[in-house]
């Protein structure tokens, strides 16, 4: 019996590399296969993947449930928009500046907020979003209030004599894909490093982590800042893609969306976040579901996640991945 079983296992091929190659080809040729609208949906999904990756470091790896991600997303969008409109700085400067600004603001916000636990921390981070929106609305001399910032230029690159502007949907798709891939790699590197393991230790048991010498406070603060950097970068790309920024960038709705991506895809897994952003943002955008129906679906998803599927799609993805890898 065992012999035949072994033989069967040998016969099953490892399909992971071919499948990975197929996915890569699909990712690279997507704008040629799908319509313009599908490409647009993919861009939105890729942009939302960035703050979701950041949130995943916070929720999935360090175990801190935060709603502040939309605040940093908005800070990034406004930083990029203001720089581009007022000083005409190029795209890559804006992206870096937006990330740094969000990260820098996360420090003074994180120091008090991270002293709070569970529900209090959630309420406090929710407060950041509301106050961010109020500032964007009322600091009219800088943010132009409810009118927002408009005609933010499309990304423009100049390398010596070569210069080109990313204007079409297709060009933007590749830009978003490249940045999304870089962000995914960055998260992967963080999670695989000893620092990533320390984060998981904090998630599992903070007191124990502290007692074995992990500086938990510093870790939580730094992860909070890194997650803000991811959100800020995402916000800046969003601003350049839509070319407008309004106080509505600071919205609970965005925080909820990012939370759904992370928890639905599977908190604490990188593939889960990629899958989650494609499913929860890309697909709903592509199907042109009205915002109300989408939010009802998100609400039901949250309930289902809390009570039935605590790990989201992660176990499913894992099983599939192992199955095509030839394991039983």
């Amino acid at each position: 019996m065992s012999l035949t079983e072994t033989a069967q296992q040998i016969r099953r091929r490892d399909l992971r590399i071919p499948l990975g190659a197929i996915l890569l080809v699909i990712a690279l040729t997507a704008p040629f296969i799908g319509s313009r609208y599908v490409t647009h949906s993919l861009i939105i999904a890729l942009i939302f993947m960035l703050p979701a990756h950041g949130l995943n470091l916070l929720v999935g790896y360090t175990g801190l449930l935060s709603l502040a991600q939309a605040a940093f997303f908005g800070i990034g969008a406004y930083t990029a928009g203001l720089l581009a409109v007022t000083y005409g700085t190029p795209f890559y400067v804006n992206v870096v500046a937006a990330g740094l600004a969000a990260g820098a603001i996360a420090l003074p916000l994180g120091i008090p907020a991270l002293r709070l636990r569970s529900t209090s921390f959630v309420m406090c981070t929710l407060g950041f979003v509301i106050i961010g929106q109020a500032i964007a609305k009322n600091w009219i001399s800088v943010t132009r209030g409810d009118m927002g910032l408009s005609s933010i230029p499309k990304p423009h690159f100049a390398l010596g004599p070569l210069s080109f502007t990313v204007s079409g949907t297709m060009g933007f798709y590749y830009l978003a894909l490249a940045i999304g891939a870089l962000a995914t790699l960055a998260v992967w590197a963080i999670v695989r490093s000893p620092a990533g393991r320390n984060m998981i230790a904090i998630r599992e048991n903070e007191t124990l982590a502290e007692s074995v010498g992990i500086p938990t406070w510093r870790y939580k603060l730094i992860v909070f800042m890194i997650s803000a950097v991811f959100a800020g970068v995402g916000g800046s790309i969003y601003a350049h893609y839509l070319t407008v920024v309004s106080p509505l960038t600071f919205q609970m709705y965005y925080s909820t969306t990012m939370l759904i991506i992370v928890l639905g895809g599977g908190a604490g897994t990188i593939s889960g976040v990629v899958f989650g952003s494609l499913l929860f943002v890309g697909l709903t955008e592509a199907l042109r579901i009205t915002p109300e129906l989408r939010m009802i679906a998100y609400g039901l998803c949250l309930l289902a996640l809390v009570f039935w599927f605590r790990q989201g799609f992660a176990p499913l993805i894992n099983r599939f991945w192992n199955a095509i890898g030839g394991a039983k």
Partner: protein, 290 residues
């Protein structure tokens, strides 16, 4: 000058009464569930919509619409309570946050989907002004004050003397011991939740004639204002909630007059963050209850 301040304070107290009726439900739910109900403002919205619907579509009087608004909210709260809130007994705090956020999304957007996202006009209620001690105050505002006082006296009596109030206090102290002595914890949770939702709905219906506009997203703002109140009052503390709501109402009213109307809604969250930093157990207790 002085009379303007006094008038603003009176207005603030009326707003505070509205917040108090909503917040006391949330604080009691926290007491039995140890979870913040992020959907609490949605029951306020549901109550208002129920009343608006019964006036605009069914042609009922304002008095009848109060009953319809509160009863329809009770029915919805019963369903939500049975399906969701009872499952939250003993669940980690994060589950409570996520589940109630989910409920808020579903309730709010279902209402927008059914009735449309635009602003509706609530054209009923006792809006005639009356003059008391030199102020002119709309009858509706006096009604709100009176109802608020009645609600708090009633709740205080209920929590202290009735069987339901005693079991609520017991559950908020120790769930395991309640089960040992035979208190039906899920039942207490369900009842507390329905009571809280009904109070929120009542508050919504009472405020509608003053606020005039009715829209699907109105509950969110109320939830956000309830959070600082329940923290200030000390989570689970009925009497503290009353005073905290008054403080926030008056503060908002003064800020709106002397600093700028646009800053009114920020007061709550600034208060929330400051409270969480320095006095997470509230203004009125010396140590955290939970």
């Amino acid at each position: 000058m002085f009379s303007t301040i006094l008038e603003q304070i009176v207005n603030g107290i009326v707003t505070g009464s509205v917040y108090a009726i909503v917040a006391v439900g949330m604080t009691m739910i926290f007491g039995v569930l140890r979870a913040i109900n992020f959907a609490h403002g949605e029951y306020y919205m549901l109550g208002t919509f129920g009343a608006w619907f019964s006036i605009d579509y069914l042609g009922l009087s304002y008095e009848a619409s109060i009953v319809v608004g509160v009863l329809s909210t009770i029915v919805i709260a019963y369903v939500v309570g049975k399906l969701v809130m009872q499952r939250m007994v003993g669940a980690p705090a994060e589950s409570g946050v996520l589940a109630t956020l989910g409920i808020a999304l579903v309730l709010q957007n279902t209402v927008i989907l059914v009735f449309g996202g635009g602003y509706k006009f609530f054209a009923d209620g006792y809006i005639e002004p009356v003059s008391i001690l030199g102020f002119s105050l709309a009858q509706q505002r006096i009604l709100i004050l009176v109802v608020c006082l009645l609600v708090f006296v009633g709740l205080e009596l209920m929590v202290t003397y009735s069987r339901m109030g005693k079991s609520m206090r017991a559950v908020s102290q120790n769930v395991d011991c309640c089960e040992v002595v035979g208190i039906d914890v899920p039942q207490v949770v369900l009842r507390t939740f329905i009571l809280g939702a009904a109070l929120a709905a009542l508050s919504g219906v009472l405020t509608a004639p003053v606020n005039v506009s009715v829209y699907g997203g109105m509950g969110e703002l109320i939830t956000f204002k309830t959070l600082p109140i329940i923290i200030m009052g000390g989570l689970g503390n009925v009497r503290g909630t009353f005073f905290a709501a008054m403080i926030l109402g008056v503060a908002e009213s003064l800020v709106a007059t002397y600093v700028g109307l646009q800053f009114r809604d920020t007061v709550g969250f600034a208060t929330l963050i400051l409270m969480l930093m320095w006095r997470p157990h509230g203004l009125f207790s010396t140590q955290a209850r939970f």
